[in-house]
Symmetry: C3
Subunit: 447 residues, 3 copies
């Protein structure tokens, strides 16, 4: 098993950053560097690889780590046994290791049961996975919930294996332990949160999903000391079972969450794709649809396969969880193969993904539904200094905006709706809303 490489030069710290570092950071170098450090770690849905990954992230943001015991019932599922790999290899008849996880984490089917056996070429082949159409790439395979074992290798190597006996070793433990996930909650004044989720279970795959981990981490870092209306709840979870476990462990808090963003596959150089939530009209659905309407980026409808939006959107929760990607999962050849490596992702692309997420979350902060606290007739703005005293001068834009906001803040219309109704710009409306809120004439609602 690969161990994490020693800390790279790109390590982030709290001391003033030299100019070239700053430039790097601006250009996505820090995100790329984080991917580089995480790339060698042998992750799975449980185990020390996940812990090492989360600890690396704790160097950047103060994640809380949670451990949920094996066997715990989480809705229809049980938290599985913990799997930790020391090494796995295939030896040929001469004792030469021809396939070895020391060379690539992907060589072993994840969650392969511990074993040490000698078998024929034919028997071995039943447990081999390769990609004839990409003969030099190693595919990524798992067998989490079915006790089995297997090896992944380049197809050209597989076909060249002579018909002799092989020793197959999976030196791993599969036993009572825990599932680990990381969480960071940045509370907002509204009591309502947006969930940002990324999976952390893929070993040595760069775009899917180190890119998502890096963007989510730096997104959390960006918003850490900011005042927020909508809180942000970052979760770094093993795919599927991790999201399910998180939902089960945090079911009481889910009512605070109406919107979620799953971030994954955001490091390649393709255009963006936003996959809408099942509901299709959530806060982030609307924001990304608006942003992408006039660009080459695309928005697609929900489908119930993909990443953890599947769990968040399930009808029992019905969170409006969308998914931000660049080239969508499964639509690039490198997907789930050894070719999804550090060459496949790009610092600039990572940085652009981060910036897009920052902008969308900031926009969401302003997507407020105010409620007029004084809904019967217009309130007297003049005595609050919110209205020019001598009538009939052309009304200022802010004054107009105040009237629009008071008039439509009936609990049905958000500030964005009022922008569309009035034709006034967001900035003027936000300024007017702040004045009215400060005067006690509006109350922000998110429920």
């Amino acid at each position: 098993m690969w161990l994490p490489a020693p800390r790279s030069n790109f390590e982030v710290n709290t001391k003033p950053m030299p100019a070239d570092k700053l430039k790097e950071q601006r250009e996505g170098g820090a995100l790329y560097a984080l991917c580089s450090r995480l790339y060698p770690v042998c992750r799975s849905i449980t185990g020390d690889g996940v812990r090492a990954t989360l600890k690396e992230l704790q160097q950047i943001v103060p994640l809380c780590l949670h451990e949920v015991r094996s066997g715990r019932q989480v809705f229809d599922w049980k938290v599985p046994l913990e799997w930790n790999l020391r090494e796995a290899f295939i030896e040929d008849a001469r004792g030469k290791r021809i396939v070895d996880t020391a060379n690539h984490n992907l060589h072993v089917v994840s969650y392969s049961v511990p074993m040490d056996l000698v078998c024929s070429r034919a028997e071995l082949d039943k447990h081999l996975h390769s990609l004839p159409e990409h003969p030099t790439w190693i595919p990524y395979r798992t067998t989490y919930y079915s006790p089995d074992w297997g090896f992944c290798l380049a197809h050209e190597q597989r076909v060249s294996l002579p018909d002799e006996s092989y020793r197959v070793v999976v030196d791993a433990t599969l036993q009572e332990g825990a599932l680990t996930y990381g969480e960071l909650h940045l509370p907002g004044s509204s009591g309502r949160d947006i969930l940002i989720s990324t999976h952390i279970c893929h070993p040595s795959l760069a775009n899917d999903n180190l890119s998502g981990i890096a963007v989510a981490t730096y997104l959390a870092k960006h918003f850490m000391n900011q005042r927020l209306r909508l809180g942000l709840r970052f979760v770094f979870v093993p795919g599927t079972i991790g999201a399910i476990t998180w939902l089960a462990e945090n079911e009481r808090d889910v009512s605070q969450i109406r919107d979620a963003l799953v971030v994954s596959g955001v490091g390649d150089k393709g255009r963006f794709t936003y996959k809408k939530s099942r509901r299709g009209n959530g806060l982030l659905d609307r924001i990304f649809a608006r942003r992408f309407a006039t660009t080459d980026n695309s928005v697609r409808l929900f489908s119930p396969y993909g990443y953890d939006e599947r769990q968040y959107c399930s009808p029992g929760f019905d969170i409006a969880a969308g998914c931000l990607m660049r080239t969508p999962y499964g639509e690039y050849d490198e997907y789930h193969t050894s070719a999804d490596n550090l060459d496949f992702i790009d610092a600039g692309a990572l940085q652009q993904s981060l910036e897009l997420c920052i902008e969308a979350i900031e926009e969401a902060q302003h997507e407020i539904r105010y409620v007029n606290t004084n809904p019967k007739c217009e309130p007297q703005l003049g005595r609050r200094g919110l209205y020019e005293p001598i009538g009939d001068e052309p009304m200022s834009c802010v004054q107009l905006a105040q009237l629009w906001i008071l008039c439509y803040s009936d609990g049905e219309h958000s500030l964005a709706d009022i922008r569309d109704l009035s034709g006034l710009d967001s900035t003027t409306l936000a300024r007017a809303a702040e004045r009215l809120e400060a005067a006690g004439l509006l109350k922000a609602e998110y429920g």
Copy 2:
């Protein structure tokens, strides 16, 4: 009065059918034969003609006959006195019967009061009905709720009647009795029913409405021994008052019925027309709209005249009752005249109508709204054998379909909705739904 002709060769029985019979049946011969047997019967909204008709149908399907006493209040109406005709005729001055129900049931206005009088040509003419534009046809007229009498005859005969005295005889009884209707309930597993209704009150008119009676009867026969999700409730009722009586007598059961199909005028060679229910978006409305969208057949909006859909759709019940016809009522010259006879209907057309009804009802059986019994996160399909264990092979269609169904079975979406959302075909979805239902992960709902 005509009596039913002796049983024809086409009689259906339970013994194995010879090959030529089978072909006949395939080609609508059995439907046509039933029409032929029923054609001579003198039906009205009450009386022995209705009973004879229903008894003929009992040879094919085990209808229950219900008798509701004259005078019984049924909503705003009262069940009328029962009318039975022995004969009705007009004699000329020489004692020659020039108009006689022995020649055609349509000669007498239905529900004419019993009488025997001599009157002048002029007096007689006030009670005559004919069609100047079709001088050889006899029109169909009724006077159910207004005590009156009259005769219908060819216009060319009417204008040739000399100015002499005439004896007019209606040898009928109009007295306390009952209204008769037939019913067959094929229950479904869902507890919800589709109502299939046809009127049975027209004497010696083939398309309107023997064609409807024949198709409804063989439709019932087709579904008799099948397992159904949506039950089928067949009612054979006199028009208007019969449907009202049935609704009054079965008001408690109406809540089980959300959709209905009135079948009438389905024996001519015209294209199909489906008239939507008042609600316009019922189960059958959607099915026929979909089926006819890409054909020459047409769908039209509801209007509150026509057949018994008027009663079923009335706002107090609001059943989504549509009406399947070929050429719509009133839009062919032969409508409600002696020209709507056995030559006007066609065995092949009857058979095609029956097949369309069968297909629509079968489609309705699959228009199920499932509810995910495990709505929080995806259930673990793998341990139920519903998912391939080693991940990342391209997912099979049935597996995809399972995810779509679980995700959208939130009580809002039917299987047809999910077909439209997913683009998957109905068969795959139905197969996936069956697997999930068998695993206890879905519950079918119809409410």
Copy 3:
């Protein structure tokens, strides 16, 4: 201050009208004459000018006058002190009155505080208002809620004032008193009312708003002795604070009011503009949208500035209050200047505005939502004489209309909806509805 001119020849009385008077009335002479009589009165949001105006209207319709004491809390506002002007003027250094409300009511900023001071040209100028783009017109300015003072004058006079000292006098009282409004309620059989509102606070401005006062007054006169389904509630209120006061004083009655029409600026020769209510789909919204669809007149969406529709539409009340104007406020140069005088308005335009209002209100009277009192099946029309006895003649239009109305009078559809569904004309439908209502088969609902 100008006093009302002596009664003009156009005075309306109850004696038979000579032919030339009648013609005048037909052509809007009476409306124009009322404007002429009201033009000289010095109105503001409180005071004797408002009282004199309402008393003038009482010559035509029996308005109730209401006085609400200064200081009374009305929602977020307080009824202000009462302001009454004797005179206000500017004297030059030689004691010559160069600006004087004896010449035009607009010369003083309404609600200027009482004062008598001598000041420099420069000091004076801070309190002057003029219109450089229209150098001969006097603008209209107010300072109701901010204790201040000011004078309005022609810009050419302002720039010609020499640099000397000036005596400025506002001989007015600003003290405890009342706000006055007028009201006339013409109840309807349904218990539901339409509110007709016009503001009465503008001094010596003809189109805004004497035209509205005149049209509303004669509209009330027109409907005074008519039987109404929807009652009419006419209010003549000072702008903003008057509407707010009326809503506060009549809050209990507001639930009876779902629709309102604010009438203002209906005397100029421009095309009509109907500004929709905030809800946008009220009774009058629909009627004016329909009426204007095929004309040069226009309909525009709601905006929260304008007249008292702002208060009526506020989310706490949400009355569907639209506003009928000709050229909209602020879109003609003369708006809120001395050029909005008796020459700017036109008798014919006033009369046309009145007629449009009458037609719209009459149409509203027929925009009835009936409820079928016998919703289960069709009622038996024949025994009520509402149906031709011997069937199968082509159905009359009124009979068809009866079926459509019974079928769709489910509490969801108005007679206008049924017109659109059926394609039948309004007159036939109205006739059919009257027959059914007389037979007890329909009940009109407005709730």
